[in-house]
Amino acid sequence: MLETIQMEYYLILSAVLFTIGTIGVLTRRNAIIIFMSLELMLNAVNLSLVAFSSYYGDSAGQIFVFFIMALAAAEAAVGLAIILSLFRLKKTVYVDEVNIFKW
């Protein structure tokens, strides 16, 4: 069981997923897509934590994953509330059109 798939495979997959999320955060303008890319990055970190936890037989990694999930849920609620009130104020969700702090 599982002797062919090494832990490194999961770690590399997690690195690739994190990189895809970074591409989204850096190149997209829509705040909601940036948000989804952030969730991708969080998932990548969770995947590497679970891989470490399973291959070392220590459940502490999975405990951290639960805390990250709780934080992600809180972040989703607050972030989408901010995006919603931003849309109500400026009628846009494109981050480069929101420059009220820039002068």
Partner: protein, 164 residues
Amino acid sequence: MEDLLFYLFAFVVIGSASVVVLSKNIMYSAFSLLFTFFGVAGLYVLLFADFVALTQIMVYIGGILVLIIFGVLLTTKITGVDIKSGTTGKVQLITASVVVVIIAISLILLFTNVEWVNQEFVQPNTTIDSIGFAFMTKYLLPFEIAAVLLLIALVGATLIARRK
């Protein structure tokens, strides 16, 4: 069999994550995020982390994805043409690709070059026992703090999003 499933889930995760990031239509992004979350949950099952996989499906798909789709529907004009979502200009694209390539290369080099202590993969019957004991003994204070944080986030989100 396990390798085949691993490669299948890896393909699903990377393919749908690329669609999330590169798609022009924001609804396609939101729906392919569903497949990414399911793929990651499948990988958790392959790693024998059953409870984490269930929580992934409940929290991410049942909670966060629904919130995101509500966000999309409330902030874009479905009847207009505004459901498309643009990318940034060329300068930002070049800078972003340089940054991303650096991050990817350093992460993969790090993960492949470190000599991880190789242990036998222990196959637990269920992880719920150990997770529950750890939450109620060693990690009790962080557990309670996370609960308070969720309450604060809920109240704050309602306060920010409500109509004045």
